[in-house]
Amino acid sequence: MMAGRQKPAADEAPQPQAALTIDALGRKCPIPIIMLAEQINYVPLNATVAVLADDPAAFTDVPAWCRLKSHHHVGTYELPRGGWAIHVRRNY
C-alpha cells in the first residue's frame, strides 16, 4: 500500500443499532450518497441511518456529506466481509 493512502481507522467497537439500513454494497459513488440523501428523511429526527458501502470513495464521502449537510457522522464500522457501515444521525 502506498504511503499516504493510510486512512483514519474505522471504529473497532461493535456497530450500534440503526433505525434504517441502506445497502449500497457494490454501488459506486455517488450512488451511496444519493441513496443516503433521499432516505435520511424516512427516519425520525435524531434517529440513525446506517449506510453499508464498499466503494473506497464512500469512506470519505459520507462523512464529508454530513459536514456539508449539517447531519452528524456517528462513526464508521468495518464489516466482516469488507466495506463499512457508516452511521449518520439525522439532525433536521
Binding site: M1, M2, A3, G4, R5, Q6, K7, K28, C29, P30, I31, I33, I34, A37, D55, P56, A57, F59, T60, D61, P63, A64, W65, R67, L68
Partner: protein, 399 residues
C-alpha cells in the same frame, strides 16, 4: 445545450483540438511556451552533439548545456554545480528522495512527508519502506495544508534522514508552510526536499531547501526535463547504477536541446510571472466566488487565499466526476478530476481523501498562461446546466 456551439478562442492545449477547446489543465501540463519552442528549434541544430566529447560540435553542446544549468541555478538561487537536469520531474523526485536517504543512511532511515505529496514522493517513500526504511506521513487539515508544528515535531523525532514537502498542492492549489518546515528541519539537522513542481516559474521559491525537484513541462518547457538541485553539504548518493553524466547524479545522455528550451521557458515565465499571476488569480477568484452561487450543493476545496495562483478545485454533490468531465469535454473544456471514476486505480485522489472532502463530482480547473476571462465566463455559463442535467439523470433534483 450548446447546439452549434463554436467557441471563439483559438487555443491552446497540448494535443487538443485547437479549434474548440479551452485548455484548463495546466496543473497536468502547461502548453509549450513560445520562447521554449523557439529555443528548442535552434538548439536541436546547435546542441545535438555529445556534450562529453572534445570536438567543436561537442563543445558547443556543452556550452549550451552549461549555460542552461547556470541560468536554472540562478533562477532557483543555487550554484550551477548543485543543479542537474533529469529526464522528468518524477525522476528528479525519485533521485532526490532515494539518493538523500542513501547518503544519510547513517543518520537514520526515517522519512517524513505530508499526506498530500505528489505520487512520485509517496511512491519513493513506498520503495524506501520496501527496503526496510520507515515513512511517517503527516496529515493535513480541511484546506489541504499541513500543520507546520506537527510537521516539525515529526521531523525532530529520532532517526529522521529526510523530510519532503511540496510548495503547493497539485490538486487543490493550497500552499504549504515550507519556510516554517525548513526552519524546523534546520533546527533538527534534517535536509528538506522541496517539490516545487506546481510553483517554479510562477512563485518565488521559499528559502531553506536542501534538495529541490521540479518539472519543466509544468512551467511551459518541453516534456522530458526535470530539475534536481542538491545543496552543497547535503549528503547524497545515487540509488542507481553508476553513470558519469550530470556529475554522476543522473544517468543517461543529456537532452541538451530540451534543457535549453526548458530554461528559456523558465526565464520567460519569471519575467511574466507577477502580471500573469495577478490576472490568473483574479480568474480563479471569479470561479471560487461564482461556482457555489450558480451551482447548488457544491464545495470549493483548498485554501481561498494561501494558494497557487492558477488552481481551483470543487466537488459537486450527487454527480460522478467522470460525467462532468465528459460533458465539459463535449462543450470544449479540458479539465481534470480527482474522483475515483476518473482514476485508473478506481480510487479517489489521496489528496481529497487526506483532506476529508468530497471525492465524487470533483473538478480541477488549472489555468495556463494566457487563459482568457471570456473562456472562464463561458465555463461558468455552461457548468450549472451540465450539473443540473447529470443530477436529473440520476433522479436528484437541484434546488
Amino acid at each position: 445545450m450548446a447546439a452549434g456551439f463554436r467557441p471563439r478562442r483559438i487555443a491552446i492545449g497540448p494535443g487538443c483540438d485547437h479549434e474548440r477547446v479551452a485548455y484548463f489543465d495546466a496543473a497536468s501540463t502547461e502548453p509549450l511556451h513560445p520562447a521554449a519552442r523557439e529555443a528548442l528549434i535552434i538548439a536541436l541544430d546547435a546542441g545535438g552533439a555529445d556534450p562529453a566529447r572534445l570536438y567543436g560540435a561537442a563543445r558547443r553542446a556543452r556550452l549550451l548545456l552549461e549555460g542552461a544549468r547556470a541560468e536554472a541555478a540562478e533562477a532557483i538561487g543555487a550554484r550551477p554545480d548543485e543543479v542537474s537536469f533529469t529526464s522528468s520531474g518524477t525522476q528528479a523526485v525519485h533521485l532526490g528522495v532515494l539518493g538523500t536517504l542513501l547518503g544519510r543512511r547513517r543518520a537514520g532511515r526515517r522519512l517524513v512527508t505530508s499526506a498530500v505529496e505528489h505520487s512520485s514522493v509517496l511512491q519513493a517513500a513506498a520503495a524506501h519502506e520496501r527496503e526496510g526504511g520507515t515513512a511517517e506521513v503527516v496529515g493535513v487539515g480541511l484546506t489541504g495544508r499541513v500543520d507546520a508544528g506537527e510537521f516539525g515535531a515529526a521531523v525532530a523525532r529520532e532517526g529522521t534522514a529526510l523530510a519532503c514537502l511540496q510548495t503547493a498542492n497539485h490538486e487543490v492549489g493550497t500552499l504549504q508552510p515550507v519556510a516554517e518546515a525548513a526552519k524546523a528541519c534546520q533546527a533538527a539537522g534534517v535536509p528538506l526536499l522541496v517539490d516545487a513542481a506546481q510553483t517554479l516559474g510562477r512563485l518565488p521559491l521559499p528559502s531553506g531547501w536542501s534538495v529541490l525537484a521540479a518539472s519543466a513541462h509544468k512551467w511551459g518547457g518541453p516534456a522530458g526535463v526535470g530539475l534536481l538541485a542538491v545543496r552543497k553539504g547535503t549528503r547524497w548518493r545515487s540509488p542507481l547504477p553508476e553513470d558519469e553524466r550530470e556529475r554522476r547524479r543522473v544517468p543517461g545522455f543529456e537532452n541538451v536541446p530540451a534543457a535549453v528550451a526548458a530554461v528559456a521557458a523558465l526565464r520567460a515565465r519569471l519575467t511574466e510571472a507577477e502580471e500573469e499571476n495577478a490576472r490568473l488569480s483574479a480568474l480563479v477568484d471569479r470561479i471560487r466566488e461564482a461556482v457555489p452561487r450558480l451551482v447548488p450543493d457544491v464545495e470549493v476545496v483548498g485554501d481561498a487565499t494561501e494558494r497557487a495562483p492558477h488552481i481551483v478545485t470543487f466537488s459537486c454533490l450527487y454527480v460522478a466526476g467522470e460525467a462532468i468531465l465528459t460533458e465539459l469535454d463535449r462543450v470544449g473544456f479540458a479539465v481534470s478530476s480527482g474522483s475515483s471514476c476518473t482514476a485508473s486505480t478506481l480510487r479517489p485522489s489521496h489528496v481529497l481523501e487526506a483532506m476529508g472532502v468530497l471525492t465524487h463530482g470533483n473538478v480541477r480547473v488549472s489555468l495556463p498562461r494566457g487563459a482568457s476571462g471570456a473562456d472562464v465566463d463561458r465555463f461558468l455559463a455552461v457548468l450549472p446546466e451540465i450539473v443540473r442535467r447529470i443530477r436529473e439523470s440520476v433522479g436528484v433534483k437541484s434546488q
